[in-house]
């Protein structure tokens, strides 16, 4: 191992050891915890600790991915014992300090992380949603300070690079190929193969790109890595530079992630200070540097050639290929594009070795994958599981009881707008492996998993997704910008009650036409539409044939009405909240003026028992507003 690395490591170990000497209160500062009030908690803790003159350190860390428990404060004592406390908002800080420093606060505690058991308290390792995880890429998240490179190095950081630098380019690429690593963006393209393309190019300089555009709605996998363990991504990129001969990188980060931008910029600076970026990295002769490059809000700029166009002073329109990035990328030079998580995986492979890396996963996909889970579940979270983990088990852990009792899970939307949608009975049978998704006409995608229960309407979801695709189409191909527009028109019309029996033929035709698109944005855009027509036919039929939306979501097929039997105590409040003065009283009798009502649900929010939503089955006839519209 390189001497320069040994020296770095020794110094960082010392820094980390010093943090262990006394009690540390770890406060996660990341986008989810901030939304839950963690910044206020941090401030309150810092001032209370000062005021009380306590001999404890308050330390910023990243988050563990247990978003629904934030702010999730951890107290680690000098004897090594550690307890996690949930929902520690700033008003709970005094209580926490009163109860948790000498003892354990039973009231606020969530789980024991380290040390002896505490009666009545679970251990984190036994907590179902934790126990099922195979935390490798996320191992340091929530434990180290993301703004402190010493913490990273003391936890094994840059040892993977040190080992890679001892190997030839061919050896490193062989190891990456043997790990089966495929692009984690959802591209599933073998990473080793891609690197070999770039290594073989003679034209210099060569560039790397880290694709941190994470535009998939509902995906926040890359964000966690950048906010909570930024150095792991940088390390993977330096390893890639060594393996491919690239000398410079652009880190293309979406503007919508301000904290990730801040953390990545600081991480790059620190890596440079330690000689891990720049000239003669770890005294190995390797020279490589990078720049955090902030995007400006465009989904197709996540597509690699759109990204390249965006870097090259153009509108971010996906380019016509060939040439591929390995031949002509940034500034028309040889370039390799990988996702954030892909680079983190490389770091892990080099640090822990193939045997460890390949010890979990499926035949085709070894190792682990990070997923972000949202939608109709109790526990919005980010988890890391081995490839092949049963989706059903994961679902049960994120939605253990109440949500399920009230509602029935209807669908799973994995991998965002281009990947597809599946009904529950198929989805919950699948292992989390890209190969298992394909036979059902969908993709697993980059890690976003959105759970959908029966309060949602499939037509409405199609309106949302097709509109997103239409809005984000770059406009180069008529098939794509016109086709996505037609998709949203059709679903809007169906949602208004103007659906026709030949709409399915139109969907089929559109699906075929869209194949003639320049990039995957166009060619994959009909996936959700086609899978909906296949798997949720009955529900769409109901809209078309009966002008009925069973979930009572499609606004033109429902009506808000005052329930004449109910007591009207709350109705004055409903009238006051209504933004359009549609709730009216005449001769003691309350009603809703349908010509004014915009169906916003506010009256029902305040007077749930007095307001009813009715559809075609509750009262007939109900003339569908858009029935005459043509498409």
């Amino acid at each position: 191992m390189l001497k320069a690395y040994e020296e770095l490591r020794a110094k960082s170990d010392e820094v980390w050891k010093n943090t262990q000497a006394r009690t540390v209160i770890r406060v996660p500062i990341a986008t989810c915890s901030i939304a839950a009030g963690a910044r206020e908690t941090l401030e309150a803790l810092e001032s209370a600790v000062k005021e009380r003159g306590l001999d404890v350190d308050v330390q910023t860390v990243g988050e563990r991915g247990l978003c629904w428990l934030e702010p999730l404060v951890e107290i680690v004592k000098a004897d090594g014992s550690a307890v996690l406390y949930e929902h520690v908002t700033s008003d709970k800080v005094e209580q926490l300090l009163d109860e948790a420093l000498d003892d354990v606060s039973a009231d606020l505690a969530f789980a024991v992380v380290e040390g002896t058991d505490v009666e009545g308290l679970q251990r984190l390792d036994d907590f179902d949603l934790w126990a099922l995880q195979e935390r490798r890429l996320l191992l340091r998240c929530g434990i180290i300070d993301p703004d402190n490179i010493d913490h990273y190095i003391a936890h094994g950081g840059y040892s993977g690079l040190a080992q890679a630098l001892d190997q030839s380019q061919e050896e490193v690429i062989q190891t990456v190929s043997d790990s089966t690593l495929r692009g984690r963006s959802g591209s599933a393209f073998p990473t080793g193969t891609k690197w070999e393309f770039l290594r073989g190019k003679e034209r210099e300089p060569k560039y790397l790109i880290c694709n941190a555009d994470e535009g998939d709605p509902g995906a926040f996998v890359n964000r966690i890595l950048m906010e909570c363990d930024p150095q792991s991504v940088i390390e993977g990129m330096v390893i890639a530079a060594h393996a491919t001969g690239a000398t410079y990188a652009f880190f293309y980060l979406r503007e919508e992630y301000p904290l990730a931008i801040e953390r990545m910029e600081k991480a790059v600076e620190q890596a440079r200070e330690r000689g891990l970026l720049g000239d003669n990295i770890l005294e190995s002769g390797l020279s490589f540097d990078m720049k955090i490059w902030v995007g400006a809000g465009s989904y197709v700029c996540g597509e690699e050639s759109g990204l390249l166009a965006s870097l090259d002073d153009e509108r971010g329109m996906p380019r016509i290929r060939p040439p591929f990035p390995a031949d002509s990328g940034v500034f028309e030079q040889p370039t390799n594009v990988n996702n954030v998580e892909t680079y983190s995986d490389v770091t892990l492979i080099m640090e822990k070795g193939l045997e460890f890396y390949n010890s979990v996963g499926t035949e085709a996909n070894k190792g682990t994958k990070i997923f972000s889970l949202s939608g109709h579940i109790q526990r919005v979270c980010v988890v890391e599981v081995a490839f092949g983990y049963p989706l059903r088990d994961l679902y049960h852990a994120v939605d253990p009881a109440t949500y399920q009792e009230r509602r029935k899970l209807k669908a799973l939307q994995a991998g965002a707008a281009l990947a597809g949608i599946l009904p529950t009975h198929i989805a919950l049978k699948l292992p989390l492996d890209p190969e298992a998704f394909k036979p059902h006409g969908v993709l697993m995608g980059g890690g976003g998993l959105v759970f959908i229960d029966d309060t949602a309407c499939i037509v409405d979801l199609n309106v949302m997704f097709s509109w997103f695709l239409e809005d984000e189409s770059c406009g180069r191909c008529t098939t794509c910008h016109g086709g996505t527009q037609r998709m949203s028109e059709i679903f809007r019309r169906i949602g208004r009650g103007g659906g026709k029996s030949n709409d399915y033929d139109k969907m089929e035709l559109l699906g075929q036409a869209l194949q003639y698109s320049n990039c995957i944005h166009g060619s994959a855009s009909p996936t959700i539409m086609l899978r909906s027509a296949e798997y949720f036919r009955e529900e769409i039929d109901q809209h078309i044939n009966e002008q009925r939306c069973a979930a009572k979501v499609c606004r033109d097929l429902i009506r808000y009405e005052i329930d004449s039997d109910s007591d009207s105590d709350k109705l004055p409040e409903a009238a006051a909240i209504c933004p359009t003065e549609a709730v009216v009283q005449e001769d003691e009798k309350w009603s809703i003026d349908q010509s004014k009502c915009i169906k916003c649900n506010a009256c029902k929010d305040v007077a749930p028992d007095a307001v009813r939503i009715v559809d075609a089955f509750d009262v007939l006839p109900l003339t569908p507003v858009g029935a005459s519209a043509t498409a």
């Binding site: 503007e255 919508e256 809000g297 509108r315 229960d453 929010d605």
Partner: protein, 157 residues
């Protein structure tokens, strides 16, 4: 283009950027950071600095949803258009906002007091449906909560 005080100021602001150096978006970010939006005059200055056509710069500015061509409002409301928010009533929130403020997405109320912006999911879906008021997450919101909040904002200004 004639140099005015404004264009000279912008020229100084973007002097560090070079042609063919992946600098267009960074330059526009810097302008927006300073003025809150990309003023018409700035497009010409940036074009000159990077040796691009003004139409190319204009094309880029209007291509990206986070670059603005109108002045920023005093209070900015980002409405999340993501899936988790939609599933939990995000459309009700949008209708409530638009009807109380009497504007649509990407518009400001009179005097640029309050503005609405269509935003993408940032992964704080635990708070769905939500909006961000000047960058701070507010949620989960019912339509009624939203109306109360929007009315307060409207009155305050």
């Amino acid at each position: 283009m004639l140099d005015t005080e404004a264009t000279l100021e912008i020229a100084e602001l973007v002097a560090e950027f070079k042609p063919g150096n992946a600098d267009l978006i960074p330059a526009l970010h810097k302008v927006q950071h300073r003025y809150g939006y990309v003023p018409r005059e700035a497009m010409g200055v940036v074009a000159k600095q990077l040796r691009l056509g003004e139409a190319q710069v204009y094309g880029a500015v209007t291509f990206y949803s986070e670059l603005r061509v109108i002045p920023p409002p005093q209070t900015r409301i980002d409405w999340c258009s993501g899936p988790a928010c939609r599933l939990k009533g995000g459309e009700n929130v949008r209708l409530a906002l638009e009807s109380v403020l009497e504007i649509g997405m990407e518009e400001n109320t009179a005097g640029d007091k309050v503005g609405l912006h269509l935003a993408q999911c940032n992964g704080t879906c635990d708070f769905a449906p939500q909006i961000w008021v000047d960058g701070k997450v507010v949620g989960p919101l019912t339509a009624a909560d939203t109306i109360t909040l929007a009315r307060e904002l409207k009155e305050k200004n």
